[in-house]
């Protein structure tokens, strides 16, 4: 109830007219587009680097594994504005990562890449943890059997392990995307512009008050819920291969 009431109340608190007007507002649409697009980029990066890492964590024991696991979860516990400051210090054009990339023409402050890394920082752990769970659910002995049948280790991963854990990877990616789209704290520090949807909602609220902020909020939340619903439906039809 505690979760449901505020969300439902928000959904009905704005009249259709102002929602439609906002849907035609270029600023709103561009903010939502930037949010969705940057979150997608952050998710792709998280999958690209997070899935191999997840496999290593699921299958191998090594010195410092506990430390790696802890580091992955750190972004969940630190306040997002602090994440933003930490990222800014490193990715600004004079920072240790920002400086060399700046020479290559990649700018982070008040730019799309800044938004992407802020999102990535906050949400990558969802992909790693979920994918890892998926890999752990595949018995390593099954991989070994595949190999005794003549399949090399890379091929075994692609045709046995990956199909059996793809569900977890997809779930993790969607969680990652949703978390990324909602990122606010780190983004306002590192890239106030270009405006993402949460930042726009905040600005409208500060500049014009609640009535101006709500329609945008309703549009964003509808988009998120719609996606969530579609994914749920797809998942339900997805074979799990578990015991019935």
């Amino acid at each position: 109830m505690f979760i449901l009431v505020p969300i439902l109340n928000l959904m009905v608190s704005s009249d259709l007219g102002s929602i439609l007007a906002n849907l035609q507002d270029k600023e709103v649409m561009s903010a939502i587009f930037i949010s969705a697009y940057c979150a997608l980029a952050a998710t792709v990066l998280a999958v690209l680097f997070g899935v191999p890492l997840a496999y290593i964590l699921a299958r191998h024991e090594f010195v410092g594994k506990g430390f790696v696991e802890a580091v992955i979860d750190v972004p969940i516990v630190i306040p997002h504005t602090i994440s933003g400051i930490a990222l800014l210090l490193v990715f600004t054009s004079t920072g240790i990562i920002g400086a060399p990339l700046d020479k290559l023409g990649l700018v982070f402050t008040d730019a799309i890449p800044g938004i992407v890394i802020a999102m990535l920082f906050a949400s990558a752990s969802f992909v790693v943890n979920s994918a890892r769970e998926g890999f752990e659910s595949v018995d390593p002995r099954m991989e070994k059997v595949a190999r005794t049948l003549g399949s090399g280790s890379l091929r075994t991963f692609i045709i046995i392990t990956l199909p059996l854990s793809v569900r977890s990877i997809v779930v993790g990616s969607i969680m990652c995307w949703a978390r990324a789209i909602s990122e606010f704290g780190a983004i306002i520090i590192i890239a106030y512009f270009p405006t993402t949807a949460p930042v726009l909602i905040y600005r409208r609220f500060v500049d014009f008050g609640l009535s101006e902020a709500t329609p945008v909020a309703v549009i964003l939340i509808s988009l998120c819920l719609l996606l969530f619903l579609v994914v749920r439906l797809i998942m339900r039809g997805w074979k799990t291969y578990d015991k019935n």
Binding site: M142, R147, L149, G150, I160, P163
Partner: protein, 347 residues
């Protein structure tokens, strides 16, 4: 065929300690041992699933200790089958052939043939989770056999199955052993399986091999009390042996038993229940061990009746139901037991 030299591997829960073993070509070899004795690990070492700390493994005189597991030509069947849950029975069996890039039609005919051999043709399009244990094990066997491995390793292949299914599959394994040019290594804790299937048996205990030999040898002449106890030898009695002419007399403290085997000092003896005959009166026979005793326990095993007769030491004797009825045996009845000196194994 398979030759293992001084193989050692130490993991936390299990260890293999200086194991030496030779398995002959086309042999049905059973490794028998209680759980935790390291028998599964020994199999995994042969397959390359686990890498040894030291020692050598040879297959057809080739050192395979460090070969990649997909290059060994060794098949593996696990107790819980490890079928690919996202593939149908057909796809599971076809897996090894597909990897080898064999033509579609050839795969089809080979898989069909294999499914027929294992009587699972009707399950072709089913997913593993819809199959019974026995059906899953047949599929796993078919999947392993279809690439004609030189060696097939099976880890407790029958342990998860009910009695009837197990008996069926045992017959199937025998048939496979005859039909295929293959060396089978089968790990189990069940002596029955060894008895029915094995050409030779190795007994494992705490990561070492206690005894290797044919089934009869192990059953009749266990190398030590662990083997005797493990293979379920009845009538194992402790005593002190002394040599007297060509015979050994074993004084158990309660009786003196005579054996033809040459041993002295503190020993164990075993007499197989089926080597003991029973009579209600004293009769003259060539048997050197004749004891009078009372029936202490009667248990019905179906076709056989198991009696425990107290002759000073408890002796277990089997009777057929008919002779049990003919002899009119009941608890505390006095009977005579007879067994030959050659039936007494001393170790």
């Amino acid at each position: 065929m398979i030759k293992i030299e001084n193989l050692t591997k130490d993991l936390e829960e299990f260890e293999i300690n200086q194991v030496n073993l030779e398995v002959k070509k086309n042999e049905y070899f059973v490794i028998l041992g209680p759980s935790g004795s390291g028998k599964t690990m020994l199999l995994e070492l042969i397959a390359g699933i686990t890498i040894p700390d030291s020692g050598k493994i040879y297959l057809d005189n080739k050192d395979i200790t460090w070969s990649a597991l997909e290059k060994r030509g060794v098949g593996f069947v696990y107790q819980n089958y490890m079928l690919f849950p996202h593939k149908t029975v057909f796809e599971n069996i076809a897996f090894g052939l597909k990897i080898r890039k064999i033509g579609k039609e050839k795969i089809e005919s080979k898989v069909n043939e294999m499914m027929e051999l294992l009587n699972i043709s009707h399950l072709k399009d089913r997913l593993p989770r819809t199959l019974s244990g026995g059906e899953q094990q047949r599929t796993a066997l078919a999947r392993a056999l279809i690439i004609y491995p030189k060696v097939l390793l099976m880890d407790e292949p029958l342990s998860a199955l009910d009695r009837k299914t197990r008996a069926n599959l045992m017959r199937k394994l025998k048939e496979i052993h005859q039909k295929f040019d293959i060396t089978l290594v089968h790990v189990t804790h069940n002596f029955d399986e060894a008895l029915q299937l094995a050409d030779r048996v190795a007994i494992m205990k705490e990561g070492t091999i206690s005894q290797v030999g044919d089934v009869d040898e192990i059953f009749r002449r266990p190398a030590n009390d662990f083997v005797a106890d493990f293979v379920g030898v009845e009538n194992m009695i402790k005593g002190n042996a002394t040599r007297n002419n060509d015979l050994t007399k074993i004084n158990t403290g309660n009786t003196v038993i005579v054996s033809t085997e040459n041993k002295s000092g503190p020993v164990h003896i075993t007499v197989r229940p089926e080597d003991i005959t029973l009579a209600t009166q004293k009769v003259t026979t060539s048997a050197r061990n004749v004891f009078e005793g009372r029936v202490k326990e009667i248990s019905d095993l179906g076709t056989l009746i198991r009696l425990t007769v107290d002759v000073g030491d408890p002796l277990v004797v089997f009777l057929t139901r008919q002779s049990f009825l003919d002899l009119e045996i009941n608890i505390n009845k006095t009977v005579w037991t007879y067994f030959k000196a050659t039936a007494v194994h001393v170790f």
